[in-house]
Symmetry: C2
DNA sequence: CATGAGGGATTGTTGAACAATCCGTCAATA
DNA sequence: TATTGACGGATTGTTCAACAATCCCTCATG
């Protein structure tokens, strides 16, 4: 049975589990397993098995499940248990709709503040995380470290959302990206997927730095449209097999 | 053909069926108490007292607390308990920043779809909930039912967010408005606050209906700026006493 | 006045228990 | 054969009681 294989993997995480809220740390472990693709969508998470593997009680585990349920990484079916979320094509469309609103909105809000008279220094400071993420991605690509290219891409979009300077926008973006990672794993080569958009990231950064914020916003919108289409295509293809 | 319509109809009933969860119902009760102002911000919620009052066990109550914690209505301090959230001025600013992005973004997304060739009928259908909310507010004001004016105003903004046709945007807007209700109660006359913006709602509706979406968006932005300033003013005043 | 040591109260977590519910199996029936 | 209905094992939903960990208040001491 394949279930025991990742249960053993979970058991290995057990020692690193010693401080702060138990349920929170259990949630961290499971979240990592899910977003990294070790727990496939649709997998049912047995309270008894996982509780035994991690050495926590059912009640504590349930709190962790509830946490991840609210982050939409797990779905909870009454009297049936919790399952790793399976995204539908509609979910992917919805996620990209939200991305368009959050990311383009963040750029737009930053633009308004810049026009309202923020200094050049302040603007450069605000843009620094975006620049770092772009360079991180290019460096990783040069070293052919494809996994790092993917995380750098995540950092880029998180940094763009952070331009709104709103904790809630950043948090929403974080949850959104975590949810999206559920669907990246259905593709054959998720690395190539992210790689293709590195030049776009650089373009957006340069437009932002140059103050051409309308152009940055529309490039971002086009980027999201293209990525959505490509992802849905790969998704539908994987659905057939 | 007829079979699928049956099935779709049943599918719509599905969420109402699984609603037997005790913790969920406990959360509903507490959420109502909080948003209606019966539980003041800062109040500590004792597990034992509330569990006894509602006749549920501590474990079940804890699940309800986690639920509301994720909706940001409660804050959970480790080893200290849960408290009704106290919003700061920064929180209010952040909430309005998010509102600007979500509501203006929803209008903008709807506008793009309309320009991309959606029919007049489809557009009127999409706008119907917004119109209903506006009329609901005006009718309540005519009857001098101020509480209903407030809820109608909530419905209006929820309906505007729904223009994005995105479940996640709608849910985020719902959480946002619930959180905002925490701060409405610090004002002397929350009724008058909502009343003042009824004409604005009507204006935005008419602009949307006329297809002048850029104007609608900028009126909305101005509305949010004004409401934010007024709310922060009242908030700072209440803070002094 | 500051400081540190009890002590009571509350939360964090566990384990067990029982009821409710789901799911697969299998026999009965048309 | 296909459908129905009943049975039983397995899993979840919920509660309860207990103990450890932590916080907060009080009070004695310097």
């Amino acid at each position: 049975m394949t279930t025991t294989s990742w249960l053993d993997g979970l058991r290995a995480e057990r020692p690193g589990l010693g401080r702060a809220s138990t349920s929170g740390r259990v949630a961290d472990v499971l979240r990592a397993r899910i977003t990294e693709g070790h727990l496939r969508p649709g997998t049912r998470l047995s309270e008894e098995d996982i509780g035994a593997a991690l050495g926590v009680s059912r009640n504590t585990l349930r709190e962790a499940f509830r946490l991840l349920g609210h982050e939409r990484l797990l779905v909870h079916e009454f009297n049936r248990g919790v399952f790793v979320r399976e995204l539908t094509v509609d979910d992917v469309r919805d996620l990209y709709q939200l991305r368009r609103i959050l990311e383009c909105g963040a750029v737009r809000r930053a633009a308004e503040r810049r026009r309202a008279g923020s200094s050049d220094d302040r603007w450069a400071e605000l843009l620094a995380p975006v620049r770092e993420a772009v360079e991180e991605g290019e460096a990783a690509a040069a070293r052919e470290q494809w996994v790092e290219v993917g995380t750098a891409n995540m950092h880029f979009h998180q940094a763009v959302a952070a331009l709104a300077q709103s904790p809630r926008v950043s948090e929403a973006m974080g949850h959104l990206l975590a949810e999206l990672r559920l669907v990246f794993h259905v593709m054959d080569a998720p690395q190539a997927f992210h790689l293709a958009y590195l030049p776009e990231n650089r373009t957006i950064l340069e437009l932002l730095a140059a103050g051409d914020l309308d152009a940055a916003e529309s490039v971002m919108a086009a980027y999201l449209d293209a990525a959505e289409a490509q992802l849905i295509g790969a998704f539908a293809a994987a659905r057939e097999s």
